[in-house]
């Protein structure tokens, strides 16, 4: 690889936003036929660097060379024409259009100006077959899951004969087998000489697929390393700039509390609770001070199960007992009155209200439960908000800043704060650590452990088995919209054991 010349060279890149230096003299290079991981916490400048490369932002300084020649990328179209193709973290396709159109739009095969639909569909089907995807290409993209949409985005990017392929957290909505599938495709592209820039928050994925990595921190270049020569712990240290031992003692803690939790009284009991088409009837008991983990593949019914317990969707069968008494959860308001809190997996659309300030977002649920006629006095608001900004280390610590300007991890903390101030008996959190950086992830996990120590019942939903294993006293395994097994998280239970259950669907 050494004698090859880089296909992409960025030197001294500088990008300034009002009040922030997002990139400060960053160098970056990419060789043909390599997978290069771009590492850093949220706010380190990864997204900005990618947007500079794809022409969304114009640079304030520095130079970009493609194939040795200096270029000025003025927009996404120019980037594509220059051979830079991108798949973004949030699927950036038009879900109202068909699968085939999403792959080919802007490049549709035409004859006399008329789009050749038949040819387009055929080519789309061929392309997807090569990616082991069997889709109805004329169906609207919205009829497929997020994971499939992400794969379609990748198909589009691949078909644009790119020299440089940028994958900005493509795996955050994929499950294990789909990640494997993606990696197979990446390896094939790599062999054909495509340079791949890969961003992921999953360290294991980085180590599995990447050849080299570049670390950014606070908009500055920390260094470029060979992945194989960089130990994980050291990498994390370079990313967050401090020793990370916070998680070390968590596992023991969970172990220690296990017995106590089992003796506590049940906060919630669901019997035969279900909703046609969403989740098959299930039984579930959650005790005070207990963390119950929900494990299963994407689309296995994790979120659907959780939503029934909050009244976000209405159950059409079964019953719920709260503190031993039967309860009907008609809507979220009813659930909140009974001391249940729910933080959705869709942080941006179902969680934060982007326009409103951090303070307003934090007090929102508490205020809603009090009703509009009984406002929380401003002094009290400031007290609560200050306390939680400090306790959860929300950055920047400015309560009046619109929450949309915060990073994903900090938005997640704001949401947690929103629910914690309502002092729930049962906290349901759906994918609280998805798409956020290592540091914030560790802090949130620690918080969950502390809350359960304090007697709160927690229902923890996550795609990451390791995280579920680390935090939970009890793990519920889902498959095909059905709860298939309940596992006490004892010494013998590990990721393999859960994967087996998911794979076989067997119940003990």
């Amino acid at each position: 690889m050494g004698e090859q010349s880089p296909v992409l060279e960025m030197a001294g890149i500088r990008k300034v936003f009002p009040g922030v230096v997002a990139l400060d003299g960053v160098d970056f290079r990419l060789f043909p036929g390599e997978v290069h991981a771009l590492m850093g916490e949220n706010g380190a400048g990864k997204s900005t660097l990618i947007k500079v490369l794809t022409g969304v932002y114009e640079i304030d300084g520095g130079e970009i060379k493609l194939g040795g020649a200096p270029v000025r990328i003025s927009g996404p179209l120019q980037a594509q024409q220059a051979g830079v193709s991108t798949v973004y973290q949030e699927v950036n396709l038009c879900t109202n259009l068909s699968v085939a159109e999403n792959i080919f739009i802007g490049r549709e095969p035409r004859k006399f100006g008329r789009i050749q639909w038949g040819k387009m569909r055929r080519r789309a089907a061929e392309l997807l077959t090569r990616l082991d995807l069997d889709l109805d290409v004329s169906a609207p993209l919205s009829s497929y899951s997020l994971a499939i949409q992400q794969m379609v985005a990748i198909a589009r990017a691949i078909d644009i004969e790119a020299r440089v392929l940028i994958l900005d957290e493509p795996t955050s909505s994929l499950d294990t087998s789909e990640v494997e599938q993606l990696f197979r495709i990446m390896r094939r592209l790599k062999e054909s000489g495509v340079a791949i820039l890969f961003v992921s928050h999953f360290l294991d994925q980085i180590y599995e697929i990447s050849d080299r990595l570049t670390v950014l921190r606070n908009g500055q270049l920390i260094g470029e390393y060979k992945t194989a020569e960089m130990p994980q712990v050291q990498l994390v240290e370079k990313m967050i700039g401090k020793e990370l031992a916070a998680l070390e003692d968590l596992e023991d803690k969970a172990q220690r509390n296990r017995e106590r939790a089992a003796e506590a009284k049940p906060v919630l009991e669901a019997k035969g609770l279900g909703r046609t088409g969403a989740i098959a009837p299930y039984d579930l008991t959650i005790h005070a001070g207990e963390v119950v983990g929900l494990a299963g593949l994407l689309g296995s019914g994790r979120t659907e199960l959780a939503r029934l317990l909050f009244g976000a969707d209405k159950a059409d069968q079964g019953e719920i007992h709260l503190d031993g008494k039967p309860a009907t959860l008609r809507d979220p308001q009813a659930a909140m009155k009974r001391g249940i809190a729910f933080s959705s997996e869709n942080r941006r659309t179902e969680g934060i209200i982007g326009d409103l300030s951090v303070r307003e977002n934090i007090i929102l649920a508490l205020q809603a439960s009090r009703g509009w006629t009984r406002p929380i006095p401003r002094k009290k608001q400031d007290e609560i908000v200050d306390k939680y900004i400090k306790a959860l280390q929300i950055r920047p610590a400015d309560p009046e800043r619109p929450v949309r300007n915060l990073s994903g991890g900090n938005q997640q903390k704001v949401l947690l704060a929103r629910w914690l101030i309502t002092e729930p008996k049962l906290l349901i959190i759906d994918e609280p650590t998805r798409g956020i950086d290592v540091g914030a992830k560790a802090e949130i996990q620690k918080l969950v452990a502390e809350l359960s120590d304090g007697g709160m019942a927690v229902l923890f939903v996550s795609a990451e088995l390791e995280e579920v294993l680390r935090l939970s006293h009890k793990i519920e395994v889902l498959r095909d919209r059905r709860l298939v097994e309940e596992l006490e998280n004892t010494a013998g239970v590990d990721a393999d054991r859960i994967m087996q259950t998911i794979a076989s669907g067997a119940t003990s």
């Binding site: 927009g75 973004y88 109202n96 035409r110 294990t176 999953f202 088995l465």
Partner: protein, 338 residues
């Protein structure tokens, strides 16, 4: 995850199939609902009134609603991108006033016609440019356009101006015999042509697909490298052009120009689009749906005419009630499909 050497849980394709949520032709449901309701209305008309079944009643729908049809087609483009154009009614009045004034000044019709059409397109393009470059909300930008166009029309002349031009009168009096006893006017033919061309453009050209893409998500469209700005400006240009064409048809119909002509057409056009299943949020809808929406509006007027004893107040109320029925029915049908 620590388990790098995990066995795939299920084979890829099977996995994908399972995830597929089946929606039976969901995108056609609003149109089919409108079509069904239109049929019911038509049959009710035939059952209740003599001569309602006469083919000319149906054919006359196109003649009587040619202006609305043309304007609503332009509006369809705009609404599919997620925008709205409030200026169309005012552009109609500006066009009729200008046409009448120029023809009165003995300008040759072959100069007047392209001139007013180009002016309409320019007004549309201007609004599109303001919306795109200055990020002014379409509602507000075209509201300003409404004031401007109607202001200009009133400035030119506040009175009704008769058109005595021979060409205009000739077109106005021209009859086309479609079948025995069934005649129509050039206006209807032009309107139908506009519908067909628009449908073809939306379905078969890159521009047409870009219109849908922008309506689905303009951010995504931008990142996919589509010419978002250009498409958006062209869409408003089309709407302005269609409004001007509608104004020309209006002036042919009425052989006059007046600043109050076309008043309220923007809302009729929006209502027609919505009844035809074009979503105001953008990204979904068909010109055929808009055609059905216009037919519904036309059929309401026809039924009221057949009824005979309804006064202006009742006409408004009936239109409102029917609008309500359509929207609620459509809503229920669409909801069930989901």
């Amino acid at each position: 995850m620590t388990t790098a050497s995990m066995t795939p849980v299920t084979k890829g394709p099977e996995l994908n199939k399972r995830r597929r949520v089946y929606k039976p032709n969901a995108k056609y449901i609003p149109i089919l609902a409108t079509l069904g309701l239109l049929a019911i209305m038509y049959i009710t008309g035939i059952a209740n009134y003599d001569n309602f079944g006469d083919p000319s009643v149906f054919v006359n729908l196109f003649r009587d609603n040619a202006v609305l049809l043309v304007v609503a087609v332009g509006m369809t483009f705009v609404i599919i991108t997620g925008g709205i154009d409030l200026s169309v009614g005012a552009v109609i009045s500006l066009t009729t006033v200008l046409t009448a004034t120029l023809l009165k000044g003995d300008w040759p019709p072959l100069v007047v016609l392209p001139a007013v059409l180009i002016l309409g397109a320019l007004i549309g393009a201007g609004q599109g440019a303001v919306i795109h470059f200055f990020k002014v909300e379409p509602f507000i930008a075209t509201l300003a356009g409404l004031f401007l166009a109607r202001g200009l029309a009133l400035f030119i002349n506040q009175q009704s101006i008769p058109i005595r031009n021979e060409t205009w009168s000739a077109i106005s009096d021209y009859r086309i015999e479609l079948a025995d006893g069934v005649v129509t006017k050039p206006n209807a033919i032009i309107a139908v042509l506009v519908v067909i061309i628009a449908a073809a453009v939306l379905a078969w050209t890159r521009f047409g697909r870009n219109v849908y893409a922008i309506g689905g998500s303009s951010d995504s469209a931008l990142l996919m490298g589509l010419p978002v700005g250009r498409t958006r400006i062209v869409v408003y240009t089309i709407s302005g052009f269609c409004a001007a064409l509608g104004g020309v048809l209006y002036s042919i119909n009425s052989t006059s120009g007046h600043a109050l002509q076309g008043n309220g057409y923007e809302l009729d056009a929006i209502a027609a689009c919505v009844i035809g299943g074009v979503l105001l949020t953008g990204g979904a809808g068909y010109v055929w749906g808009t055609l059905l929406g216009v037919m519904v509006a036309g059929l309401i007027t026809t039924i009221i005419n057949f009824q005979g004893d309804l006064n202006a107040a009742w006409t408004r109320i009936v239109v409102g009630v029917l609008l309500f029925v359509f929207i609620v029915m459509q809503r229920l049908v669409t909801r069930k499909a989901k």
